[in-house]
Amino acid sequence: MNDNDKRSSDSPEAGWPEDEAPASEAERLAAERLRAALDGTGAQPADADEAELRAAAAMLRAAAHEEHLAPAARDRLVREAIAGATLAHARPASRLRRLAPALALAASVLLLLGSLLLVGRAPLRDRQRRPAPAPRELATSRPSNDLLGRPIEDRERASAARRLDLVFADRLAGFRRTRLLAAGGTP
């Protein structure tokens, strides 16, 4: 086989240097993957060893052909880096700032509820501080049917007002009597 035949044949055995060990099938496949990777058509490296091999080839190529950043790419990367770093630092504070209005509203509502509870309970506490011992006959609530003479069915406004007056007058009389008794007087 002459030199032309060696070069024209594309078989792995063609022109194989005599001082080179024969190539295994695995080695030929690995060589093909490296070729594809350098051409930009290869798949991801199969293992760490292959990854390092590709990195070595890339380093060799890069060392011989220095590549620079275009000004536009440089400015873009700097801008993105500043935005990314600032955002990373501001994220906790901005989250707090976003929640601040909701927190303020919640605190206001809680304060309002608390105030209402305090205001509502004050008269009760006052009553509890000044207990009036009620006579036994007036301690329990009682229906007003005996005052009104019949169960309340009439829903007319005038009748309701009259019934309220009757009940109120009766209860007020009872209250006066209770207070006088508590004070040691006689009704």
């Binding site: 240097p17 390092e52 380093m59 060799l60 890069a62 011989a64 990367l77 500043i82 990314g84 770093a85």
Partner: protein
């Protein structure tokens, strides 16, 4: 290094007037203003060194352009977040940025589960620029050039240790970027044979890169 836009040559407001060309004084002012929260100063400071970091520190050690850009951005993000820890010691902030970039490159290779000789070689690279006079001239540009020279010397020294066929295969395919067919023709082998020879050559380079010689020095030191 690529020329800087004209606006970057205007000293920051309030900067002390130093000797003409005393870029180190300007850089100190930029660092202090950036540490104080001046975004414009930060933008100018990073823009001054971005290209040198990319072309001389990251790209030669990674190869892939897109990956190199990602690493550069990660470098700058880390630098911004840690700028408050930087203390001016009379030399360019480029050294500090360079160290961050180197660590990012090593992290990148480790994340790819590449823990072999290549990562160890990158980790053992000697420091550059220690002999530079801190306050003289365009310091960062000189350091970046020394970086490139040192890296090229390491690669040449490693190639010199390979057998002539392997060295030639790498030179033709990667350094001169010839097509496979032309590489095969020059080596007087078939294209398929060249693929295998080239594969073996890169493997041999990878194993040999960063090896120390019998004198205990790295291949780059031996080249010096």
């Amino acid at each position: 290094m690529s020329p800087r836009p004209e606006r970057e040559r205007v000293p920051a407001p309030g900067a002390e007037a130093g000797p003409a060309g005393d870029l180190t004084s300007l850089e100190q002012v930029l660092v202090e203003r950036a540490q104080g929260g001046d975004r414009e100063a930060l933008r100018v400071l990073l823009g001054r060194h971005a290209d040198a970091l990319f072309a001389r520190v990251i790209q030669p050690r990674v190869g892939d352009r897109s990956t190199a850009e990602d690493i550069l951005k990660a470098t700058m993000v880390t630098a911004i977040e840690k700028l408050h820890t930087f203390r001016w010691q009379g030399r360019s902030v480029y050294f500090w940025l360079r160290q961050i970039a180197r660590n990012k490159v090593i992290d990148h290779h480790r994340q790819g589960q590449r823990r072999g000789r290549l990562v160890r070689a990158l980790s053992d690279e000697p420091e550059v620029g220690l002999g530079q006079t801190p306050r003289s001239g365009p310091e960062a540009a000189l350091i970046a050039e020394e970086e490139r020279t040192l890296n090229a010397a390491r690669i040449r020294a490693t190639l010199a240790k390979l057998n002539p066929r392997y060295r030639r295969a790498i030179e033709l395919r990667l350094l001169e970027e010839l097509p496979r067919e032309e590489c095969a023709r020059q080596l007087e082998v078939s294209v398929a044979t060249f693929d295998v020879v080239f594969f073996r050559a890169v493997n041999a380079f990878r194993r040999s890169f960063g090896e120390r010689d019998e004198g205990g020095r790295g291949s780059a030191d031996a080249e010096r």
